[in-house]
């Protein structure tokens, strides 16, 4: 079970959090102007990387804030957490 450093509350057990999938997928501002394929790209297509992945997490049983995480899916190492709207701290 991970130990997650919530950017607002500090280190907490994973059981307090819920995962929200891939980060930095921006909801299109003008969905009506998109083709079916473009909309489907936003709606359905997600990466499933073995390695460094950017993810959304929610401190659901805590401050309820959403934030982002840099996690290596091959060994579960969490490299960084950062607030919504911030750029990923590592490339």
């Amino acid at each position: 079970m991970f130990l997650i450093n919530c950017p607002y509350c500090g280190e907490r057990d994973q059981s307090e959090f819920s995962a929200g999938g891939e980060a930095h997928i921006v909801r299109p501002k003008q969905p009506t102007e998109l083709s079916d394929d473009q909309w489907a790209e936003f709606l359905f297509m997600r990466k499933n990387i073995k390695g460094i992945q950017l993810e959304r997490w929610n401190h659901a049983h805590g401050c309820r804030k959403w934030f982002n995480m840099v996690r290596d899916t091959s060994n579960d190492k969490i490299h960084a957490v950062y607030k919504m709207g911030e750029k990923p701290p590592i490339k």
Binding site: P31, D36, R56
Partner: protein
């Protein structure tokens, strides 16, 4: 006890306190400090069980958790009995009762043993291969196979014991209280670190604590004496917690570990009563030091499974620790120096050692010299080729090994014995390391896997890290610990260590015999009866992956998870397939390390504590009225209120009729309520609901449908505008938490520019809903000051009101199609408001109705229930609710998906009404709908989502989803059931009061 198998020189057994216990119905005696295994051995009982497949007699083989054979059924109480417990781990207590497993009628005479003689016909995967065909016969085969399968018996009644869970946080967790663990604990504690030391035994000290030999000295003391003082010195540390009888079960990422502490398993039946049996510790450690030690390996040779064949170090532990002789004429068979320590211990205790059979050519180590000095006979470069004795070993046959070790040469020698000690070297316990995500490396020199790269803050020290010599264990452990804990010096800087060093090594995974392999039984997995032959057969049949060979042969799949001889299986596979061990890898070690009881896993979360139960403020009233309850999410909701001998059907019919004829009252407190405030609240609702909200006047209510981004209906409910920037949203009971999360997600991540604040107020308000033609009269009695005229208070509007000076919110909204009101009041006034309404409604026969009648009433009106009539694949268009989709709004959640090529298809499943030709016939919810009654196979066009007998229409009604349903109105369809086919007609979804006259009545 006809033979005296006890010595008097053990410090660990209290020979003054005798304990009686029963094994297979016979009363026996042991001493305080014994395990069941040591007590049985002291009673000259080796045969304790039968093997799984061939039912071969099996005896105690080890002294620890890796025991494959001596697994017993503990207790005979139907709720407390425990199968598959290891006799080597059970501490003896007064009143203990154990029985052999996997044998009938008894362990001494077992009918299943016929399988042993049939064994040439029972190769690996026999069952898979034989019972494949004809496929239809499987049911018959299964009956017989199930009868003979399985080891112990599960308890059949609920567990009466109490189990517990607790959290533990520490700086350093040390797993294993052997010599390296003790050193680690002392260094960590001396450096003011909050330290926890776990050991699965009742005594600390590992194998060194009974290492009582001239060859092994620390600072001129015997190693056991030195260690004993070190253990005593640990008592002075306040920052060190020592937990004995505590087994580490699982090592997860980020140093999260689970350990099971046995609190009462060693106590007598009387002492156990009303105490917590086991506690599961949930540990989060900053650093972990694994000092889990190593397991002695067996040797793989013909008939290596007979009762009386025991690991050599276990024989040493039984004699030195428990004071029990495993036999009176003991032979030892080894490929390393370990067996010589055993030989010396036995010799010292006056047990005659026949000989040591050593596959090596020679050894010049101090310990071997010591054994030679004592006159112990050694057969160098020899191997055991066979053993005899059905229920107890009585002799062995040995032969000389060829120079390359692949064959035997010269003449056979027979040696009589009643016990054979075997030692095939040592396997580091790397299970926990790999559970944590660590990767292993293979060391050719010692034929072992060792920890390589770890992903968490941890080290392995001692023999689990490949150090097997006393001086290496101590010196390397100290170095690693200092480095790991950033410590410059310790108490242990200038230890003087004397020990025997192994000089020669030799390993043969499968020892040769004078017979062809096919005629021998060299067991690998003792519990599952898989032999070296089976593994080779699997390879011949084309299995290459170690994971596949494991499952095909069942090697390593017993309750012991192959702790003892997985390494040999790997070695034989590597040799046969001619691959390197390092390339072959190992099977995955999964938690738990040793079996956990279900009790320990669930702890206190049983019965009413299994899940949170939410009750409304009016709950007590429903209980008093003998309501039946329904679980809706975590809520208990009144389902129906049966009167005297009413059935559920009768009660629901009565309640539904009363609500339309006069007045009904419903506890709607469970509906989710979200308070929405902020200057952008209207814009926010525009974006989350399909319809428009900007023009909703203050004091008005509106029904809204919420979609997922994929266009599918997610939730629905009525939202009321309380003020310019203030709304209260209601959600479905089950959807409340998810809706709030979803809305928060959009607010925080997609629309952070909106000035909106969401608060869950579900629990803050109780909601009483009064419906029916007399609801207005009743409400006017409850709140006389409120103007209830249609002009002042029309349908879909809201008023603040006072009841006895208590503020409340009244909405005129309806889920039943009747004229109705919902009164929301601070929850602690909920019950008194409810009672007030009942009192006011008495003259109108106000009838409390439950969720079932509510569902019936709304179905009459064709109102959907999100989650019952929708299932995540229905768009508003599919529900024939096109009217609720705003054409003017530029965007809302899910809008774009409503005109994807798939969602605009005309032939999607659509919500329709169904009427049965026979108005008395009520359809089953979930029943399939077809267009042709007799065609086979027939296409299934949809299914019934809601179905009731309507007392107000006096006929059966149903809602259903049907392919292309909108266009099929009036069409005849069929609902095929098990014994009949029901004729139905597709109709409109609204069955009652299509003109909404009742709403405004």
């Amino acid at each position: 006890m006809n033979k005296n198998l006890r010595t008097t020189n053990s410090n660990f057994i209290d020979q003054t306190s005798r304990i009686s216990f029963k094994f297979d119905g016979k009363t026996l005696y042991g001493f305080k400090g014994d395990t069941l295994a040591s007590a049985l051995l002291a009673n000259d009982i080796h045969l304790v069980g039968r093997s799984f497949k061939y039912h071969r007699p099996r005896g105690i083989m080890t002294c620890g958790s890796e025991e494959p054979n001596a697994i017993v059924q503990l207790g005979n109480d139907l709720s407390m009995t425990e199968p598959n417990t290891r006799a080597t781990e059970i501490e003896l207590y007064e009143g203990l009762e154990a029985t052999s497993q996997n044998c009938w009628p008894s362990v001494n005479f077992d009918i299943g043993a016929i399988n042993n003689f049939l064994s040439p016909f029972l190769p690996a995967a026999f069952y898979y291969k034989t019972f494949m065909w004809p496929a239809s016969f499987w049911k018959k085969y299964e009956y017989f196979i199930r009868k003979s399968a399985g080891l112990g018996k599960s308890p059949t009644k609920p567990d009466k014991d109490i189990y517990d869970h607790r959290y533990l946080h520490c700086d350093v967790l040390i797993v294993g209280g052997g010599i390296s663990g003790i050193i680690a604990a002392k260094i960590a504690a001396q450096n003011n670190l909050n330290t926890v030391l776990l050991d699965d035994k009742n005594n600390l000290g590992g194998t060194t604590i009974f290492q009582d030999n001239e060859c092994f000295k620390i600072n001129n003391s015997y190693s056991n004496e030195w260690l004993k003082k070190e253990i005593e010195s640990l008592n002075s540390f306040k920052n060190l917690t020592i937990k004995k009888r505590t087994t580490l079960a699982a090592y997860h990422s980020y140093n999260y570990l689970l350990a099971r502490e046995n609190l009462t398993d060693h106590l007598s039946l009387d002492e156990k009563k009303n105490k917590i049996r086991q506690r599961l510790w949930k540990i989060r450690a900053k650093k972990v030091i694994i000092a889990s030690g190593a397991m002695e390996r067996p040797l793989i040779f013909n008939n290596n499974d007979r009762p009386g064949i025991i690991l050599s170090t276990s024989i040493k532990k039984y004699i030195d620790y428990y004071g029990v002789k495993c036999g009176q004429k003991i032979s030892l068979f080894t490929n390393n120096d370990t067996a010589y320590e055993t030989a010396i211990s036995l010799n010292k205790s006056g047990v005659s050692v026949n000989s040591v059979i050593d596959i090596r050519d020679k050894s010049n180590s101090a310990i071997v010299k010591e054994a030679e000095k004592l006159g112990i006979k050694i057969y160098w470069k020899h191997t055991v080729v066979n053993t005899s004795g059905y229920k107890r070993i009585n002799s062995i046959e040995l032969m000389k090994l060829s120079d390359d070790g692949t064959a035997v040469v010269e003449n056979k020698t027979k040696e009589e014995c009643d016990c054979l000690g075997i030692s095939g070297g040592w396997t580091p316990r790397v299970h926990l390391f790999t559970q944590s995500g660590g990767k292993l490396k293979f060391i050719d020199k010692d034929n072992i896997f060792l920890p390589d790269k770890s992903v968490s803050e941890q080290i392995s020290i001692g023999s689990c890290n490949g150090d097997f010599e006393l001086d290496d264990v101590i010196k390397n452990s100290i170095k690693s610990i200092k480095n790991f804990l950033n410590i410059n010096s310790s108490d242990y800087e200038n230890l003087k260590i004397n020990c025997s060093k192994e000089t020669d090594k030799k390993n043969i995974w499968l020892l040769p015999s004078n017979k062809p392999l096919g005629k021998t039984k060299p067991f690998l997995d003792f519990q599952n009866d898989s032999t070296a032959k089976d593994v080779k057969l699997a390879l011949r049949e084309g299995f290459k992956s170690i994971e596949h060979v494991k499952r095909y042969t069942t090697t390593g799949m017993g309750t012991d998870q192959g702790k003892l001889s997985n390494m040999h299986a790997l070695g034989i596979i590597a040799e046969t397939a001619e691959v390197k061990m390092s390339e072959l890898g190992t099977t995955t070690f999964r938690p738990p390390y040793t079996p956990l009881t279900f009790g320990a896993i669930v702890g206190r979360n049983v019965g009413e504590f299994f899940d949170i139960t939410r009750r409304t403020p009016i709950h007590e009233w429903h209980v008093e009225q003998k309501a039946e309850f329904e679980n809706v999410g975590q809520w208990k909701r009144a389902w129906y209120y049966p009167k005297s001998k009413e059935t559920m059907y009768e009660a629901v019919q009565r309640e539904s009729k009363a609500a339309r004829d006069s007045a009904g009252i419903l506890d709607a407190s469970t509906l989710g309520k979200i308070d929405i405030q902020g200057s952008d609240a209207s814009e926010f609702l525009n974006r989350v609901y399909t319809n428009a909200w900007s023009k909703l006047e203050i004091g008005k209510c509106r029904y809204g449908l919420m979609l997922n981004e994929d266009g599918m209906v997610y939730d629905d409910g009525v939202t009321t505008r309380l003020g310019e920037n203030h709304y209260i949203m209601t959600t479905t009971t089950g959807g409340a938490a998810n809706v709030l999360s979803k809305l928060e997600d959009y607010l925080q991540t997609e629309w952070p520019e909106l000035d909106v604040y969401l608060t869950s107020v579900t629990d803050n308000y109780a909601t009483v809903s009064i419906c029916g033609p007399n609801s207005k009269k009743i409400l006017s009695k409850v709140i006389p000051d409120l103007d209830l005229s249609d002009k002042e208070f029309p349908h879909m509007s809201f008023k603040n009101a006072l009841i006895n000076n208590i503020k409340c919110r009244v909405m005129r909204i309806s889920f039943t199609g009747e004229h109705s009101y919902e009164i929301n009041i601070q929850s602690n006034y909920g019950k008194s408001l409810w009672e007030k309404c009942i009192e006011a409604g008495n003259e109108f026969n106000i009838t409390p109705y439950g969720t079932e009648a509510m569902h019936l009433l709304r179905a009459e009106k064709g109102f959907i229930i999100a989650g019952q009539d929708t299932d995540g694949t229905m768009t508003p268009v599919d529900l024939q609710m096109d009217w609720i989709i705003s054409k003017k709004k530029y965007d809302f959640i899910g809008k774009r998906s409503l005109y994807r090529s798939d969602t605009i298809r005309e032939d999607r499943k659509q919500l329709v009404g169904l009427l049965t030709d026979d108005p008395k016939e009520v359809l089953e919810e979930g029943a399939q709908i077809v267009a042709e009654a007799k065609k086979k196979p027939v296409e299934m066009l949809g299914h019934v989502t809601s179905s009731y007998f309507s007392p107000n229409l006096n006929k059966s009604i149903a809602l259903a989803v049907v392919v292309n349903g909108k266009k099929l109105k009036g069409q005849k369809m069929f609902v095929p059931m098990e014994n009949k086919t029901i004729n139905v007609t597709i109709t409109d979804t609204v069955f009652l009061d299509k003109e909404n006259k009742r709403l405004n009545a």
